[in-house]
Symmetry: C2
DNA sequence: CTGAAAGCGCTTACAG
DNA sequence: CTGAAAGCGCTTACAG
């Protein structure tokens, strides 16, 4: 592969001059610029980003560590992150933690070794020493969706409190009183917050959230199935199961189907995170939708602000309830969205 | 951030010795090794992968350019690719082309500039000069799922011919005679092959595939909707619509639903690529499943073979039909899978 | 406007 | 077993 030296030789100038025209430096004669450009195309020269990074101490690359690529929510997040980053002149390298702290650490380490300019993380756990150290050491960092309390890092996320309250109001209006939740891992903020929001909303309606109605999931489909089976085995099963993410509701659906039960007649279902398929499931699933694209873009902007020395801000956007049929027929007054 | 010099100073040895212990070189005294290790942990030193890459001319990184991250098929492919690569000591950087040739080129260029060791591509089109040049210039490369004819690059893919024939047999047995297809872009191999396989299978049953029954899609949901609307507007609409990927069938479902029609009573639906949600759609969707994980792993092995100087082989794995209810009730004899 | 030279952080023959 | 030194491909003050 042709190097800058080859280009310099071909153009009859020094490598310094080649570098200057490559980087659009103003003080280069028109003649030199023309010859360099010609040499570049003649040789099919492409600058070596590795060498450039070593020299400039910047990679124009952002790292994104997501909890699970198989989850459409994160996939959409990743897409908007890459899009915004690209628009701002950065590349992004994605690491998939698969909800495993060890894998998460592996990716953080790899990304740090590659000297990415900034790190976007949706932590799978309470934070490993590695990640905490990186944050303290001053690596530009921003948390998206999930975050780690007590660390001085901006957080970009959706607040689902209002939407969860709307959901509970909807369920209550439909006559449901025994509501259960499939929670995410307690080590994650979203795992805890969604249960808290649910519990508080229930309290507003004079309802309780008994321990038996809190199933411990891990944001993966299989745990949704397991927890739902447990609910169905209860002497008094819940009337509604609210899954804290879109994968666990898939598992819940599997479990309900395996028992030959029907939704919403025998049991109602709802989920956090909305995906396109929910319109076409049997029945269409009521869900809480996050402004995913906006979150991704805001996170990138906050991170790049930090990378470039500005102060990146935390951002919290509201989530919203999308009512469908999985919780039962409902008065049109409550209806926020039909599809 | 501490550099190798700092470690050398701290350990009281030369940078050469530090490098040797870092790379597990045998000829280092036990004493030196101990002091270096101690210095490394004391300083929290992490080797700079950028510098190492520049020096060794290898990045231990593979590039993966997929057609669409929002498509669960590619997401699963990406996951298995990363997994296998990691097991073999490589990282992977994913580029999402969003089915756009220009974006694909952008990512190929970026990846090449970063001097990735090898490139895995699922081309969105017939191949840009950039990609063709890279292949000719000897960049280790492997095509997955889709490929470009006439280029000397191994191809790892699924052959859906048998499964498509099984699908047509299934449809024929159910009494369907007017079968239509939503095709992928003619510029992609999968866009063409699936139509060909469909046409051939129809011919085996004495059926034709009229031009009006071939809708031109682009592998995205919206095109599935548009094409399906066109089919429904036909004086004689098809009895079955077969979508060449899982996103377009989503659009088809949207279109059918918008007209108030029912599947399979009014129109039958089937798709290429199986996803977990198909079990829970209304009705469950009959699909052709690819051995996605296997494809990803085989592609990585073939690519790493090339990277490391061995001859990476092309691999073709069979796809299989998964019968559900979207094409109508069916004799259990034909049934390959229920869920 | 232009070039010679230093240096980014590593690895690796080459000597000893 | 160990170190001095060269060099990977760039960028960028410094002189001119």
């Amino acid at each position: 592969m042709a190097s800058i030296k080859d280009v310099a030789a071909e153009a009859g100038v020094s490598v310094a001059t080649v570098s200057r025209v490559l980087n659009g430096h103003p003080s280069v004669s028109e003649d030199a610029r023309r010859r360099v450009t010609a040499a570049v195309t003649a040789l099919g020269y492409r600058p070596n980003a590795v060498a450039r990074s070593l020299r400039t101490d910047q990679t124009r690359t952002l790292g994104l560590v997501i909890s699970d690529v198989l989850n459409p929510y994160f996939t959409e997040l990743a897409r908007s992150v890459e899009e915004e980053a690209r628009a701002l002149g950065y590349s992004v390298i994605i690491g998939n933690a698969d909800e495993r702290p060890d894998l998460q650490d592996h990716h953080v380490r790899t990304l740090l070794d590659r000297r990415i300019d900034g790190l976007l993380v949706s932590p799978t756990d309470g934070g490993s020493p590695l990640m905490l150290d990186a944050a303290r050491a001053g690596t530009p960092m921003v948390f998206v969706d999930r975050w780690i309390p007590g660390v001085d890092v901006p957080v970009v996320r959706a607040d689902g409190r209002e939407a969860v309250r709307d959901l509970v109001a909807h369920l209550h209006a439909l006559g449901h009183r025994r509501l259960a939740i499939i929670a995410g891992p307690a080590a994650t903020t979203t795992g805890r917050e969604r249960v808290d929001a649910f519990r508080e909303a229930l309290a507003d309606f004079g309802l309780e959230l008994p321990g038996a109605y809190i199933g411990q999931g891990d944001f993966q489909a299989e745990s949704g199935r397991r927890v739902t089976e447990g609910f169905l085995d209860l002497p008094e099963p819940p009337e509604v199961v609210f899954a804290a993410d879109n994968l666990m509701v898939l598992g819940a659906l599997d479990a309900v189907r395996a028992r030959g039960l029907r939704v919403p007649d025998d049991i109602a279902l709802a989920a956090f995170d909305d995906i396109r398929w929910f319109v076409h499931t049997d029945p269409p699933i009521t869900a809480i939708a996050q402004p995913t694209g906006e979150l991704g873009r805001a996170a990138v902007r906050a991170l790049i602000d930090r990378v470039e020395g500005r102060t990146g801000q935390s951002v919290t956007l509201p989530a919203r309830l999308v009512v469908r049929r999985s919780c039962g027929a409902h008065p049109t007054a409550v209806q926020r969205s039909t599809s």
